[in-house]
Structure formats: structure tokens, C-alpha cells
């Protein structure tokens, strides 16, 4: 028990020393040196926003999916379109039918 207390006391003292360990001031020439180095950089290697291969892959996939969806939508037979319309209306009807029940769930 006493050992535990001693260990805890040491931990408090060590943590305090770690937190209060003073930082050295930054040299006054540091910031000016950085800005001088930046000015010395050739204009053609100034930072520019660059897209990674992952960005290109994501945008290609998204565009591709949108394109495929559009083509599928356009090439659907009228019977299937009508069937989908009916299914949608039935879904809405069921949704409204169960609306009071859903609201009760929503309220918890």
C-alpha cells in the first residue's frame, strides 16, 4: 500500500517535471531565414494544388457510375419503367400507411 502511494507520488513529481521542462526560445533568425529560403525558391516549384492518383480514380469511378446509370435509365423498356413507377407508388402508400407507427418509433 505504502509502495503504491510512493509510486503515485513519484509519478506526480515526474509528470510535473516533464510538463514544466522549459522550451528554449526560437532563434530570432529562424523565421526570417525560412522566408528568405522561400523567396530563393524558383518560381516553377512554388506550391501548386496537385491531384493524387487516388483523386483521379475516385472521380473516374463516380463519373463512370453516373454515366452507366444514365445509359441504363435511357435503355429501359417502357414496361419496366411502368412497373418501377407502380412499385414506387406502392412503396409510398405503405410508407404513409405505417407513418404513425414509424413516428412512435422515432419518438422512442
Amino acid at each position: 500500500m505504502n509502495d503504491d502511494f510512493e509510486f503515485e507520488r513519484e509519478t506526480v513529481v515526474i509528470n510535473d517535471a516533464l510538463r514544466t521542462h522549459p522550451l528554449d526560445p526560437a532563434p530570432p533568425t529562424l523565421a526570417t531565414g525560412v522566408m528568405a529560403r522561400l523567396r530563393a525558391l524558383p518560381a516553377n516549384i512554388r506550391p501548386r494544388f496537385r491531384l493524387s492518383p487516388f483523386d483521379y480514380a475516385i472521380s473516374l469511378f463516380t463519373t463512370g457510375m453516373a454515366g452507366v446509370s444514365f445509359v441504363l435509365w435511357q435503355s429501359m423498356p417502357p414496361q419496366v419503367m411502368a412497373q418501377m413507377h407502380i412499385e414506387w407508388l406502392l412503396f409510398l402508400q405503405r410508407l404513409f400507411q405505417y407513418a404513425p407507427f414509424l413516428q412512435t418509433i422515432g419518438r422512442g
Binding site: 515526474i14 516533464l18 522550451l23 528554449d24 523565421a31 522561400l38
Partner: protein, 187 residues
């Protein structure tokens, strides 16, 4: 990252050097101290800190804000230090990730104040300065910047277990030194 810093980062990404100068002013002290504790030489540390800021400027367009700006910047600083002192990378990686007792350090207790406490604190500060560089980096990130274990692991590209082991061992060394310092008082 506060709103003001986010705005400065955004402006810097668009090439605004004045905004970047404000970021440099904000972070220069800690960046310099991190490099100093890793490299142990003031001139080398200043040069490394400047190098790190220039690299950060160049890499800013790739910063997505997924991590905090400071952790992203410290990762650059440690990489610069690793390049200048290759043995540091090996030492950090060699800390291992054995299971250590997880001692929580978020304690609200404050140590006893007084002349004796001040002497003890000064003694421990000297001991912190003599810790191996790999431990100094860890304790600086943990206790001076209050980074979480996960953030430190991300900054140093280390497994979480290695970070915990390193901090535990650093504190064990300080505990040993503290016991030696306090020994005469118990006799």
C-alpha cells in the same frame, strides 16, 4: 486546429507567403525545440527547423486537413531529423513494443511546492536533458505539446505499443534518478 489557423493554412496553400509567415511564427518555437532535442545542436536544430518549414511550404498543397496542422508539421520535422541523424530512426524503432504497465498520467494532483520541490524539479529537468534523443522526442511531444499516444505514433510513424513502451522507459529512467536524488533524505 482553430478557425484562424485553418484560414492561414488555406491561404498558404494558395501561395500566400504572408499567411505562411504567420504559421511559422506560431510554430517556430516548438519546431525548433523538437529539432534541438532530437539533434542536440543549436545550429543544426535551427537549420533543420528552417528546412522543415520549407518542406512544409512545398508539401502544403497535399495537406488535406485529415490530421491537425501541427501533427502534420511535426511529422515533417522528425523526418528531417531522421535524415540528418539516421541512427535516431533506428533508435526510435528499436524501442520495441513489449507490454508495459499503462500508468495514467492525467492526474490532477500537483506536487508539493517549496524550495525542495524546486530543486527536485530542476534536477529532473537536467535528467530530462540527458535522456536518449529518442526518449526526449517522445516526452517533448507528449508533455510539452500534449499530443495523444495515437498522434505521437502518427508523427513518428511508430506502432502505438512502441510509443507507450518508450514513454514508460523514459519515465522509468527519471524515476530511478529521482530515487537516487531523494535517497539521502530517507537516511
Amino acid at each position: 486546429m482553430n478557425q484562424n489557423e485553418k484560414e492561414l493554412v488555406r491561404r498558404s496553400q494558395n501561395g500566400d507567403a504572408e499567411a505562411f509567415a504567420l504559421l511559422v511564427n506560431e510554430h517556430q518555437q516548438f519546431v525548433y525545440n523538437l529539432a534541438l532535442r532530437a539533434l542536440g545542436n543549436t545550429h543544426e536544430a535551427e537549420d533543420a527547423a528552417q528546412d522543415a518549414f520549407v518542406r512544409a511550404w512545398m508539401a502544403l498543397p497535399n495537406f488535406r486537413g485529415q490530421s491537425q496542422f501541427r501533427t502534420w508539421l511535426y511529422r515533417i520535422v522528425t523526418n528531417v531529423c531522421y535524415n540528418r541523424m539516421p541512427r535516431l530512426r533506428r533508435e526510435v524503432a528499436a524501442m520495441g513494443d513489449e507490454q508495459v504497465m499503462d500508468v495514467p498520467d492525467e492526474t490532477s494532483d500537483s506536487p508539493v511546492e517549496g524550495i525542495e520541490a524546486d530543486e527536485r524539479r530542476d534536477f529532473l529537468h537536467q535528467k530530462i536533458d540527458t535522456l536518449p534523443e529518442s526518449y526526449k522526442i517522445l516526452v517533448t511531444l507528449r508533455y510539452q505539446q500534449e499530443l495523444s499516444y495515437d498522434e505521437i505514433a502518427s508523427v513518428l510513424s511508430l506502432p502505438l505499443g512502441t510509443v507507450k513502451t518508450g514513454l514508460f522507459r523514459a519515465k522509468a529512467q527519471l524515476r530511478q534518478a529521482l530515487r537516487l536524488f531523494e535517497e539521502p533524505a530517507y537516511e
